[in-house]
């Protein structure tokens, strides 16, 4: 985390300042820094409401045993993907809920489930400072789009006068599927390679 973000964060800031100076538009960069950090707070407050709401609902579903029931129904596929996670454990329940929310396009719900799954994975696999293979697999699955119907795209296409807003669906499905399949394959290969080398990476 900190290794990747060190370069992304540092690099973007230094580049912005240099490019801003070269183009003689340093004012835009400094204004952006001020307004963007305000935006970050707004975003966080929005997220705060959604995450707290879903965490509350999830807690109810968990204590009543509802999440265990859904996880049992949906986990056969995911169990094959995530090795070594207890099929009835908390982590698997949240993974199932996160993937389901992703498929349905409930972006607001999938993040709270995803964060809860990460924390449960951390507890179950005792990751410490080093990400486990299952954690990485879960995160990269979330960096691929699993949404069945891209509603935002369809709505914007309609708004911009498209004759057939949904005509892009087959192309979206094929590209999403290839993206997800390649990402998972890459993660599996890289994980296996790291295991062969012992620790490291």
């Amino acid at each position: 985390m900190s290794v990747m973000m060190k370069w992304v964060f540092g690099g973007l800031i230094i580049l912005s300042v240099i490019i801003g100076f070269i183009r003689g538009d340093a004012a835009a960069v400094s204004n952006a820094a001020v307004s963007a950090c305000g935006e970050a707070v707004t975003l966080c407050i929005t997220l705060c409401g959604i995450i707290c709401l879903w965490s509350g609902v999830m807690r109810v579903a968990q204590t009543s045993g509802l999440t265990k029931l859904t996880a049992k129904a949906l986990s056969p596929v995911l169990r094959r993907l995530f090795h070594g996670i207890s099929p009835k454990g908390e982590a698997m329940q949240f993974i199932v809920l996160n993937i389901t929310a992703n498929l349905l396009g409930l972006g607001n719900a999938s993040t709270p489930f995803g964060l809860a799954a990460m924390r449960a994975l951390e507890k179950e696999e005792k990751s410490g400072e080093r990400a486990t293979d299952n954690m990485i697999l879960f995160v990269v699955l979330n960096t691929a789009s699993l949404q069945l119907i891209p509603t935002t795209v369809a709505a914007l296409r309609l708004q911009h006068g498209s004759a057939a807003p949904m005509e892009i669906l087959p192309a979206v499905w094929v590209v999403s599927l290839i993206n997800a399949a390649l990402t998972v394959t890459a993660a599996k290969i890289m994980g296996a390679a790291a295991r062969r080398r012992g620790a490291g990476l």
């Binding site: 973007l12 912005s16 970050a40 707290c52 709401l53 009543s64 990460m118 709505a155 892009i168 890459a186």
Partner: protein, 175 residues
């Protein structure tokens, strides 16, 4: 056409959770409150990295970095028959969801929703996620410092997806 599965799914999920909870004699109110408290902890944990990412991306957009990178990437994108209008979307998409949507609207306004660039942009946006943002936020909910091959694996899928989106539009929509 405006049917949104989310409009129906969310209220139904809420109802199902509370009906099931009450049927199982769960104290739905105090469990809900405990969940909210846990949620607050999560938000506190992810806030610093959210702040860092949103700020540096905001600065990068303002300085004209996206346009500059678009110019540099031109030889590569031309090689794949990728519409030049969509390159900024490739650069911004992994970092910012709202930024990508704003750019996407721009592309639709300029070239039309049913143009080649408009269709490619639609496929790109519909088939990808905010990769850097997701990795940063998900791991910041944990104590993990070494994310190992997570970024590399995620980018393999993204890069192939973007290259393929132009080809997919040609195959499925003819142009």
């Amino acid at each position: 056409m405006n049917f949104n599965i989310g409009d129906y799914a969310v209220p139904l999920i809420f109802a199902a959770v509370f009906i099931f909870g009450l049927a199982k004699k769960t104290d739905v109110f105090s469990e809900f409150l405990k969940g909210v408290e846990e949620g607050l902890g999560t938000v506190r944990d992810i806030f610093p990295s959210l702040m860092a990412l949103v700020t540096c991306v905001g600065m990068f957009r303002a300085c004209g970095g996206v346009e500059l990178l678009t110019e540099w990437l031109k030889p590569v994108t031309e090689l794949f028959g990728f519409p030049a209008e969509c390159t900024p979307l490739v650069i911004l998409r992994p970092f910012s969801g709202s930024g990508a949507v704003a750019l996407y609207e721009n592309i639709l306004t300029q070239t039309g929703a049913d143009s080649f660039a408009g269709r490619v942009a639609s496929v790109m946006l519909g088939s990808s996620e905010t990769t850097f943002y997701t990795i940063a936020v998900y791991f910041s909910a944990t104590k993990v410092k070494k994310i190992r091959y997570a970024l590399a694996a995620a980018l393999v899928g993204d890069v192939c997806g973007w290259i393929l989106s132009a080809a997919a539009v040609r195959i499925f929509l003819g142009a």
